[in-house]
């Protein structure tokens, strides 16, 4: 029997991005973002841009803003480390930036190689001047993304929403590859 998700948060994030006027979405795929990426690709008004590494998405979003378009960037926590130097550009130029980050190396992690970057993610972001919002339950995600989008585009801030591993709930390699 197929379970019905009481909190279809990828759909809710998608709607929130639409309402915020986001029209470019850069992403490095993550299992936790799978559904959201599919929704963005299917949307003819959005441009979903697959990246070869996460820092490309910082440049993409900066270029979009120079051209008058709002962007968002989807990644897994391991990609945050790839972005660090380019977050300096965002801060110096006061580019708005909305990052939606699915967490690994956190609650119940089964891959030890994910743990160092996952545990360092909030500290690394904050060290580079990024405002960090954490969403620890499914029902918190959409309002947190909404608040983050308002802060990013209304107040020209770099904002990251960390979506807890507890919400994503991948518990093993088998579980991950079956999604």
């Amino acid at each position: 029997m197929k379970r019905i998700d009481p909190h279809p948060w990828p759909e809710q994030i998608y709607k929130t991005l639409k309402d915020a006027g986001v029209r470019q979405v850069g992403y490095v795929p993550d299992a936790g973002h799978k559904r959201l990426i599919e929704l963005c690709i299917a949307d003819k008004e959005m441009r979903a841009v697959v990246l070869s590494t996460e820092e490309e998405g910082i440049g993409l979003a900066a270029g979009a803003w120079l051209g008058g378009v709002r962007g968002a960037l989807l990644m897994q926590s391991s990609g945050v480390g790839n972005c660090i130097n380019h977050l300096g550009t965002v801060r110096e130029c006061r580019f708005p930036l909305l990052m939606l980050i699915t967490m690994r190396g956190q609650k119940g992690e089964f891959n030890p190689w994910q743990v160092p970057m996952g545990q360092a993610t909030p500290g690394v972001l904050e060290a580079m001047g990024v405002v960090v919002h954490e969403a620890n339950a499914a029902e918190e995600i959409a309002p947190t993304v909404d608040a983050a989008a308002r802060l990013a585009f209304g107040s020209y801030q770099a904002v990251a929403v960390l979506i807890s591993q507890a919400v994503i709930g991948i518990k093993s390699f088998q579980d991950q590859s079956s999604r």
Binding site: G59, L60, A62, E92, C93
Partner: protein, 196 residues
Amino acid sequence: MKTTLHRRDVVEALLKDRKGLLVVAGLGSTAWDITAAGDTPLNFPLWGGMGNAAMIGLGLALAQPRRRVLVITGDGEMLMGLGSLATIGVQKPRNLAVVVIDNERYGETGMQRTHTSAGVDLAAVAKACGFRATRQVRSRAQLGALRSAALSLPGPVFAQVKVIAEKLPLVLPPRDGGLLKSRFRKALLGEAADLD
């Protein structure tokens, strides 16, 4: 064949009578080159963020599909963001051109050799990544064709322009990132830029 080209002449040839052209320049020498050709609000010269100039160009080109976007950057900067050529090759923006001013050196740090000095062919990489038009340029006779490719061929266009390794006087653009961003947006988007 050895190149006979001077970088400032190449950039001047690309940017003269530029009309509405939007220009992003990688940090270091290419930022000084576009400034030597004439600073304008529609220049976005980078002072940091090495490796991301082409991606800023992609974001801008997708946001402004009716405007031509030209990224001018160095070989060291392009090598640091080689994956962005694959990303651009997938998106295929018709209005984007990337021109690499290739002196085969890291110019700001003591003229150390880059990979291109050992034969790494950036134009071939761009072609393999799906750029619609790619070329290498080494002589003055090719500059006219370079300009028309960069400014009007359906993109993405990529050119690797071999230039003489030379140290030139610095011609510095404003360095306040917030100012560079705001003046660019205002020149492109008008007063509405400040209300978004």
